[in-house]
């Protein structure tokens, strides 16, 4: 990072940290949304942006993290429960990673989507068997605390993703994106790398899910495991341009603004806008905003 970029990043972080004292409750809600989506999308890009394995099932990690926090509510302190949610999500990714990451391209997309639905219905059935179709949480932390925690996770995600991109792991994952057969032939342990990156990309979403369960103070599997969360992550990454480290941050922030404008003025329009943006970018600018900006270089 250049000194100027470092100062800019520091200023942005200081500003983001001061948000709860600068804006009202509505502004804080938007800031919380932004921090959440940045954390989710940047984490997703640890595998999706480097190796271009498009997971459409990241809501499973988010939901599992939420479920851990909800089921351990008033049993475990939150400083334990939230990280535990992340670990459970990571362990789940590690478990399904070996078989799932053997398929690639559209098959991987469909398989991850299917697994997330499977997890959703599994949790739904467990809850039904327990007679708890939905749960209410009393005495959750206020939005200011949740925002700062989520912001911390967003910053952590950005740091982890940047470290991965600079490491041998990141280089190997880029080789996987370019040509998997060549990658393993020149010595990249592709299986291990993909599974590790997948697990790494699941941990922070698990923790974010835990925090968001506290935010709503309410747990309902159909809502927490809603596949729209996965679609939104992928759309944000594609719009920003996942191959570039800044892309997922840019895409997440941009779509948070778009969604706020639409919720206020045309609530039905949000999903339509998401779809149009996704299709538009995939067809006309597959590299996203960052990719399109980088292109003019010959």
């Amino acid at each position: 990072m250049t000194p100027r970029a470092g100062i800019a990043a520091g200023a942005a972080l200081a500003l983001a940290g001061a948000v709860p004292w600068l804006v009202g409750p509505y502004g804080l809600t938007i800031a919380l949304n932004a921090a959440m989506w940045v954390a989710l999308t940047v984490s997703w890009s640890i595998l999706g942006g480097t190796a271009a394995y498009i997971s459409l099932g990241h809501v499973a990690f988010y939901g599992l993290g939420a479920y851990v926090v909800v089921t351990s509510w008033q049993v475990l302190p939150l400083v334990v429960a939230v990280p535990l949610g992340g670990l459970v999500a990571g362990a789940f990714a590690l478990t399904i990673g070996w078989p799932v990451l053997r398929v690639r391209g559209p098959y991987f997309v469909i398989l991850t989507l299917g697994i997330a639905e499977l997890v959703k219905y599994a949790v739904l059935n467990v809850e039904a068997a327990l007679g708890a179709s939905s749960r209410l949480l009393f005495g959750v932390p206020d939005n200011r605390t949740l925002y700062l925690a989520t912001l911390g996770l967003a910053v952590l995600a950005i740091i982890v993703a940047a470290l991965v991109r600079r490491s041998r792991l990141g280089a190997g994952l880029v080789a996987v994106r370019e040509d998997e057969v060549t990658a393993e032939t020149i010595g990249v342990p592709i299986g291990r790398y993909k599974v590790f990156a997948f697990a790494l990309s699941a941990v922070i979403p698990g923790m974010v899910g835990g925090l968001m369960a506290l935010r709503s103070a309410y747990f309902e599997p159909l809502q927490v495991f809603n596949p729209v969360i996965s679609f939104t992550i992928v759309t944000m990454a594609v719009v920003g341009g996942a191959a570039d480290a800044r892309g997922p941050i840019l895409g997440a922030l941009l779509l948070v603004v778009v969604s706020e404008l639409l919720w206020a003025n045309a609530p039905q329009g949000y999903m339509i806008a998401l779809g149009v943006l996704l299709i538009g970018f995939v067809v006309f600018a597959p590299g996203g905003i960052t990719g399109a900006l980088a292109r003019p270089r010959p």
């Binding site: 880029v174 080789a175 370019e178 040509d179 393993e184 032939t185 020149i186 010595g187 990249v188 299986g191």
Partner: protein
């Protein structure tokens, strides 16, 4: 036994026997040529040695270690690299990054100065000028050299060279022969070379092995092979 030792290797794809009872020895520092018509099993043999394909039968050892059944990255870690007949560059990456990736992975123990290794490999293969260009923008002749640069940069001691002269014109073939000869000498590489350009192989190799329908049908010095009736039959059909 040092070098590469292939014993009784077989490989079938469905009902088709691509390799059957193949024996092959490549002594350290040697250049061995592998000849055969299309479909003779040359590329399959490369795939089996490099770990891209799994042999159904037989054993392969390299420097005394069994390598059959190992994953490609494990084989690469032990010091074997291959090129691809149908070139497989990382198209969107620069030529330099293509080679740098090979230097950062490849053989173990890992290279402690991959940037220097990359620069040396690019210089040896005459690609230093192209280093900043995307690999997909290179000509075929350059992409073939990139295949070699990447193989060399892994730090391999044995390089399996798969038809790097196919599709090149006479001048390019001569240049490539020079390059391979120098790589062999300067880097003390052991080479197993598949080539359709017969004269090229005759000049390069100290020993030639001929595959026909998945079996070894002849083996010997280039001059002997050139006069072998079975070889001309396999290539040109039976004499009338």
């Amino acid at each position: 036994m040092n070098g590469l030792v292939v014993r009784d290797v077989g490989k079938s794809f469905g009902g088709v026997r691509a390799l059957e009872g193949v024996d092959l020895d490549v002594a350290p520092g040697a250049i061995v040529g592998l000849m055969g018509a299309n479909g003779a099993g040359k590329t399959t043999l490369f795939g089996v040695i490099a770990g891209n394909e799994r042999a159904d039968a037989g054993t392969i050892t390299f420097e005394g270690r069994r390598i059959d059944g190992l994953r490609p990255d494990r084989v690469a870690a032990l010091g074997i690299a291959r090129t691809f007949q149908i070139v497989r560059p990382f198209r969107a990456l620069s030529v330099r990054d293509n080679v740098l990736l090979a230097a950062r992975f490849g053989r173990r123990p890992r290279d402690d100065d991959p940037a220097a290794t990359t620069a040396a490999a690019l210089a040896d293969l005459g690609l230093a000028e192209q280093a900043g260009r995307p690999a997909g923008a290179l000509t075929l002749a350059e992409q073939k050299r990139l295949e070699l640069a990447r193989a060399v940069a892994t730090g391999a001691r044995l390089v399996l060279v798969d038809e790097v002269m196919a599709g090149l014109n006479a001048t390019e073939v001569a240049a490539m022969l020079d390059v391979i000869g120098r790589l062999h000498q300067d880097r003390r590489l052991t080479l197993l070379v598949v080539e359709h350009v017969m004269q090229a192989l005759m000049r390069l190799a100290q020993r030639i092995v001929v595959l026909h329908q998945g079996r070894v049908i002849a083996e010997g010095e280039p001059a002997t092979i050139a006069g072998d009736a079975r070889v001309s039959e396999a290539y040109l059909g039976a004499a009338p």
